[in-house]
């Protein structure tokens, strides 16, 4: 039995601690936004979870390419881990965003580029798991998974641009914003601290979860192998 690496345990503790601090900063330290009030505090974790979703999305695309080039099942395990994390965290980001949007936009949902692209990516990833479920052969499952991850990775930016041809109301925090955006605000110094710390905390959490999930995938593969040998 492979022992859990010490660095991973340290990372567990670190991510739990930094999450606690991020929660404190978001809920108590950051000043209350003047117009939106307390609901604006959702934003710190909303952006951070979307960020983790994006990291997973990028890691999945990268692992997909690596698998098709190297044909090493190691990359397949990494790809599944990344897709799973991305699926969960995009979902959390969408849920948190809806909680914020209800009072500010006066609707739970709107077909905005970001919202729709995140939702479509969720659907792509659900389809990804359905595809994998339908194939027993390990090598083929990995190959098809990688192909579909790549198709999804390419289609997401195209989807985003396509929906952008319509007007958007999603606020843009950095860079130019569209005139139609609703619910914009500028980051006060206290907010900035809470915001960047949340990003930092969730990045650590991402690395921690990613590591755990890859380890789990490797162990699962070993169990499968042992079961085959046992007949």
């Amino acid at each position: 039995m492979e022992r859990k690496p010490l660095a991973l345990t340290v990372l567990d503790i670190l991510s739990a601690l930094s999450l606690l601090i991020a929660t404190y900063l978001a809920l108590f330290y950051a000043p209350t936004e003047a117009v939106m009030g307390a609901v604006q505090r959702v934003f710190y974790f909303h952006v951070a979870t979307a960020w983790v979703g994006l990291l997973g999305f990028l890691a999945a695309g990268f692992a997909g390419v690596m698998y098709l080039v190297r044909h090493d099942l190691k990359w397949d395990v990494i790809e599944v881990a990344a897709v799973e994390i991305s699926l969960v965290f995009f979902f959390i980001a969408i849920a948190l965003g809806s909680i914020w949007a209800r009072p500010v936009w006066n609707t739970w949902w709107t077909w905005d580029p970001r919202l729709t692209t995140a939702a479509i990516t969720e659907l792509v990833y659900l389809a990804y798991f359905m595809l994998r479920q339908g194939i027993e052969e390990v090598e083929r499952r990995a190959r098809f998974g990688a192909v579909y991850t790549l198709i999804g990775a390419v289609s997401a930016p195209v989807t985003f641009m396509a929906i952008r041809l319509f007007r958007t109301i999603h606020p843009v925090l950095f860079g130019a914003s569209s005139e139609a955006a609703k619910g914009e605000f500028s980051l006060a110094p206290g907010m900035r601290v809470a915001f960047f710390f949340a990003l930092f905390a969730f990045t650590i959490l991402f690395v921690d979860l990613f590591w755990h999930r890859i380890r789990l995938g490797r162990l699962a593969a070993r169990v499968d192998q042992a079961r085959l040998q046992a007949g």
Binding site: L68, L123, A127, M130, L131, G134, F144, G152
Partner: protein, 227 residues
């Protein structure tokens, strides 16, 4: 080993093989066509396609019909190869894998265009709306090309999975969204006689989609059928 056949000749041979098989059985085309017709009938009663509604939804109804009928064609055309064992024959043949992709893709595209060519006058006839419009034809060509490009790749994956027919639309529709937006908006623009500047962004979108997904499907096809 025999030398590889020239690329275009192999593409043509595969396309011709599909056409000849279809000419004899006619099952693919008639299936797609009757299904498309049924979708239009269902739309008629589901949405009450009176004159006012029709003006705004015709483009959407047409594309939904084409896309749904298209999935039937895609899964049949690949399942036929798999079930008759002719896929193995194709893979053994001394032709470029890319030629197999383009041959199958062109076949799928052709069947879709045929169905569309029949549905358009029928829709015009049923709803007394003139669909004879050069711009619309261009949009249909671009939209169907993108659809066949990504559909052929995904269908050749889904037929190798246990849940094959169930799987294809689930894999296909999420990545089809840009195509839906571009095709519906551009067709609607041409049908309502909108200005060129309004339609152009959506034509560009269709063109971009076609180029991107043709190239990526062409590159990935090798990984999907390698045995």
């Amino acid at each position: 080993m025999k030398p590889r056949a020239p690329f275009l000749q192999s593409v043509w041979a595969i396309l011709w093989k599909d056409l000849a098989a279809e000419l004899r059985s006619r099952e693919l085309f008639s299936g797609m066509f009757i299904f498309a017709l049924l979708v239009i009938v269902i739309f008629n009663f589901a949405m009450e396609l009176d004159v006012a509604t029709r003006r705004s939804v015709t483009a959407g109804v047409l594309w939904t019909t084409f896309f749904f009928a298209g999935t039937i064609g895609l899964s049949r055309s690949m399942a036929m190869e798999k079930d008759r064992g002719s896929l193995d024959g194709l893979l053994l043949a001394p032709v470029d894998r890319a030629a197999i992709y383009f041959g199958k893709m062109l076949g799928n595209l052709l069947f879709m265009l045929l169905v569309e060519a029949l549905i358009l006058p029928l829709y015009s006839f049923l709803y007394n709306q003139n669909l004879f419009n050069g711009g619309l034809f261009l949009v249909i060509l671009l939209g169907s090309l993108g659809y066949a490009a990504v559909g052929t790749l995904l269908a050749s994956m889904s037929i190798q999975a246990r849940t094959r027919d169930l799987l294809l639309p689930i894999l296909l529709f999420p990545v089809l969204l840009p195509l839906v937006i571009g095709a519906v908006k551009a067709s609607g623009g041409y049908l309502s006689g909108a200005a060129r500047e309004e339609i152009l962004p959506f034509l560009n979108l269709l063109l971009t989609y076609d180029v991107i997904f043709l190239s990526i499907s062409y590159m990935l096809f090798d990984s999907v059928i390698e045995e």
